[in-house]
């Protein structure tokens, strides 16, 4: 993502699958407690197939672009494909900085949280959304990079 190509630019100008989703089967949030950055992921599962997804974030543009590409990639695919998709995106985007890796992690973690919420609901739990807290923070990687300089 070091060079902004047309595809990245399109995703910046009009992120795909952005916003809320009506009647999701799972809602997951990944939260960076240090920066308060979050990604919320809405998923509709039919068996193993992800029939619809959307996401929203207050995060940076890297998070927006990765969320857009990832959600587009996994829509109408199965869970196994979704689990591998983040790696495919990483390969597609080329070498990511530490901050960008945190961005891809927060998107993927939000998706995982939405699947966990699906499972919890299926098991009879009354859980509105499932929250997972990030281990790595964008702030920490920023500070590391500053230290590097």
């Amino acid at each position: 993502m070091n060079n902004l190509n047309d595809e990245t630019l399109e995703n910046l100008m009009e992120p795909k699958n952005y916003g809320k989703l009506e009647n999701p089967t799972g809602v997951g949030v990944a939260l960076d407690e240090k920066t308060k950055e979050y990604v919320i992921f809405y998923t509709i599962l039919d068996g193993d197939i992800i029939t619809d997804v959307s996401y929203a974030t207050n995060g940076c543009q890297d998070t927006v672009v990765i969320g857009s590409m990832y959600s587009d990639m996994i829509k109408n695919n199965n869970l196994e494909y979704a689990n591998d998709a983040i790696q495919r995106i990483t390969e597609k985007l080329g070498e990511l900085t530490k901050e960008q890796k945190v961005c891809s992690d927060i998107v993927f973690t939000a998706f995982i949280a939405s699947i966990k919420n699906c499972e919890n609901r299926q098991n009879g739990e009354d859980e509105e959304l499932h929250v997972l807290k990030m281990k790595e923070s964008c702030e920490a990687t920023n500070m590391e990079n500053t230290d590097d300089k």
């Binding site: 100008m13 916003g19 929203a56 543009q61």
Partner: protein
């Protein structure tokens, strides 16, 4: 129940604002921006009315920013949007005020459409990513692009978050500080939006999720907001250093100093 009139007014404010950014004719740009600011005040008054009636509103939107090719395409779309919203205002004194403002806006839009010389091509969406006649390197253009996307979203977010807080405070001092912060963010959004249009990358800021604007801990929100302003200052400084263009560097230094005063304003809220 969530108020639909508020949502439609929010969408109209954005449509007018971004039409103003997209159009290069300075007279039309300036006039549309004035109307956009009037629409924003309508939003504010509608919001206060809704809360007084123990109802609520949110920042959901159902709109796209179409990549239109000509000034008339933009103006015709605005005419339709303004006409469509008229039936939902109701009959209150506020509704009457809004309707008379909108009638005058429609008159102004029709005047633009009568003069074929106004119908210029729109370049705000062509993705050329050139900064005027300056020869910035690819790296500098990428840095400027990312900055404009980050900051235009951030200013839109701040406008709406502060407006949300302002509508819910009973404290006059706080109300005034929020107003200052909103006014400052309007100016920044206008600056960045016009720059995005020049570069051919004009785009709507993404929709705000309620996790962003429904604030449960105001003090923590202000503390986090100050940290964000500090981060924005660093980003401005980095960009100012990276871009080897005196005019742009001076502009980013100017924005940087403004961010410093935002921090002062926010500290008064603590």
């Amino acid at each position: 129940m969530i108020n639909k009139t508020y949502q439609k007014k929010h969408e109209l404010w954005l449509s007018l604002t971004f039409a103003s950014f997209a159009i290069t004719d300075e007279a039309i740009k300036s006039r549309l921006y004035d109307f956009a600011q009037i629409a924003f005040r309508h939003m504010k008054w509608l919001g206060l009315d809704i809360l007084e009636n123990d109802e609520n509103y949110n920042y959901d939107r159902d709109m796209l920013l179409y990549k239109r090719d000509s000034v008339f395409d933009i103006i015709e779309a605005l005419v339709k949007e303004v006409e469509d919203i008229q039936s939902i205002y109701g009959d209150s004194n506020l509704a009457q005020r809004i309707k008379t403002d909108d009638i005058y806006l429609l008159e102004y839009l029709s005047q633009i459409l009568k003069d074929e010389s106004n119908n210029k091509a729109i370049t705000a969406f062509n993705m050329k990513r050139e900064w005027l006649d300056k020869n910035l390197s690819g790296e500098q253009i990428d840095a400027l692009t990312i900055f404009l996307f980050e900051e235009s979203y951030k200013e839109y977010e701040l406008i709406l978050v502060y407006a949300y807080m302002q509508a819910r405070t009973q404290n006059i001092k706080e109300f005034g500080i929020y107003q200052d912060l909103i006014d400052e963010s309007h100016f920044h959004l206008k600056s960045f939006g016009n720059m995005m249009a020049i570069m051919g990358i004009l785009a709507l800021p993404r929709e705000l999720h309620e996790m962003t604007y429904v604030i449960k801990d105001v003090k923590q929100f202000i503390v986090d907001g100050i940290a964000e302003e500090e981060a924005a200052k660093v980003m401005c400084k980095e960009l100012s250093d990276a871009i080897k263009d005196e005019e742009l560097s001076k502009f980013f230094d100017f924005i940087n100093y403004q961010e410093s005063y935002h921090i002062e304003l926010m500290q008064k809220l603590l």
